[in-house]
């Protein structure tokens, strides 16, 4: 009885030993559930045939004898996303799926809006930064993004935000003083500077004076500034409008060296007004020929 049991044990061992190589040759693929973008790794496989790696931006096809590991080079998995590893042999195809996750954040795409903005305007400046790794994969995990704002002659101010799904953003009002507002988005050592031109806002306290001449009256504004004292840029259009018995006539003239000038012939009673953008200035009345 005892020897019969020993014989059965030996037969089982022999059978298993002979069967094992057969099982070992059956195709199989085993990949890590997640891999970091750009990092090489290995897929454990067994079997011989054609190996495919199909990712969002890359396809790899090679013959393998996968009794050992299939080495996957970092550049083959630089794009984050879902990958299929497929091994086809004469018995058919097997596959496994794994996810490539973004590498460490080290890039910023920074969009700042607008390029020119009037001073002292609430919520007029906004910026959006998209956080990605060195392979341009959006980094979904929260990352700290700093937005630094500086205007010549003023202290630098900054605002820190945590990115959400790879996006950090801010919105602020423009400063009271005109000039180049530099806004820099920063992520660790990566910085992306942008510049917004802050320009004078609407004219404030617009006034003109008249100088009568032999045939016409010359009108000239005082230096045109916004309510914060910033001079409106040269080229800004100022409209002078004369109203008399003949009706209305308007002269549009650009600001030159902070002032705008115009000439009107006046042959009877007339009113002349001045406007710049939404700002209305004073009116001057004439009783007749100057």
């Amino acid at each position: 009885m005892k020897s019969m049991g020993r014989t059965i044990f030996h037969l089982s061992a022999v059978f298993l030993a002979s069967a094992l190589p057969v099982f070992a040759q059956a195709p199989a693929l085993q990949a890590p559930a997640t891999v970091t973008a750009g990092q090489s790794f290995a897929i454990r496989g067994s079997g011989r045939g054609t190996f495919y790696l199909v990712g969002p931006s890359h396809v790899l096809k090679q013959n393998v004898d996968a009794r050992q590991e299939i080495a996957i080079a970092g550049p083959d998995v630089s794009t984050s996303g879902s990958y299929q590893a497929i091994l086809c042999s004469s018995d058919g195809c097997i596959n496994t799926t794994f996810q490539v996750l973004p590498a460490a954040p080290n890039r910023l795409s920074f969009l700042l809006h607008p390029s020119r903005v009037p001073v002292n305007t609430p919520n007029a400046v906004n910026g959006t930064a998209i956080v990605s790794d060195r392979f341009h994969n959006t980094v979904i995990a929260p990352a700290k993004v700093d937005f630094r704002l500086s205007l010549a002659g003023e202290d630098i101010s900054s605002r820190s935000v945590q990115s959400v799904r790879g996006i950090g953003w801010f919105e602020i009002g423009s400063r009271p003083k005109q000039g180049a507002l530099q806004v820099t988005a920063a992520l660790n050592d990566t910085t992306e500077p942008r510049v917004i031109q802050q320009v004078a806002s609407e004219a404030c306290g617009l006034r003109m004076s008249a100088t009568p001449g032999p045939h016409a009256v010359t009108l000239q504004t005082e230096p045109i500034r916004d309510c914060a004292g910033n001079p409106l840029p040269d080229g800004t259009i100022v409209s002078f409008t004369k109203t008399d018995a003949a009706g209305k006539s308007t002269v549009d003239t650009p600001i030159k060296k902070d002032k705008a000038t115009a000439k009107f012939e006046v042959s009877g009673p007339a009113h002349i007004s001045v406007a710049c953008g939404e700002a209305l200035g004073n009116e001057i009345s004439f009783a007749g020929r100057p």
């Binding site: 984050s80 086809c88 799904r165």
Partner: protein, 180 residues
């Protein structure tokens, strides 16, 4: 200005009836014979709210982009990507198609519909981020041989940006199940 709200009426997108947008319970949906079904939800979208017309266009153009990418991956033709796909999404898909051509592979996508949630719309209206949960049938062939076939639910993080007359798919990244 009409904002995308919970009470939207049915809107015909084009006179030819190529696609019909149907509003239901705060969602915009593209139903068409030729376009994949896309249901867009914009509830809680921030920091900018979305206007109804913008929602309609984004919904349509995203569906169109998916139709284009499916056609391009099946035919191995990168030239089909140009109308609604740009930027990194186009670069990656073009590379994938180039690799497919070299290796003799093709990918057939059966698009069974998208549940899309708009999650970020920048203050200036220059970028919109979407989360998409899509049901896909995927078949990969090498010549005549099918090497992979599966029905999957895949999640994508999407970035859309506006152009002169349409919204472009700029970034399309598949993300893990637990991502959202």
């Amino acid at each position: 200005m009409k904002l995308l709200s919970k009470t939207l009426t049915a809107v015909m997108l084009s006179a030819t009836g190529v696609a019909i947008l149907v509003a239901r319970c705060g969602d915009l949906s593209v139903l068409a014979a030729s376009l994949p079904k896309v249901v867009l939800s914009a509830e809680g979208l921030a920091p900018r709210t979305i206007e109804q017309r913008t929602g309609e266009v984004v919904t349509h153009d995203y569906a169109q982009a998916w139709q284009d990418l499916a056609g391009a991956l099946d035919a191995n033709r990168a030239d089909l990507l140009g109308d609604y796909i740009t930027g990194e999404a186009k670069t990656r898909l073009t590379q994938r198609i180039s690799d497919q051509k070299k290796t003799g592979l093709r990918t057939l996508l059966v698009d069974n519909g998208h549940q899309v949630k708009a999650v970020f719309y920048s203050p200036d209206g220059g970028e919109m981020q979407l989360e998409d949960r899509v049901q896909l049938g995927i078949k990969i062939t090498d010549g005549e041989k099918t090497i992979y076939s599966a029905d999957v639910t895949q999640k994508y993080l999407v970035l859309m940006t506006p152009g002169a007359d349409r919204w472009y798919l700029r970034s399309l990244e598949s993300v893990p199940d637990k991502a959202f």
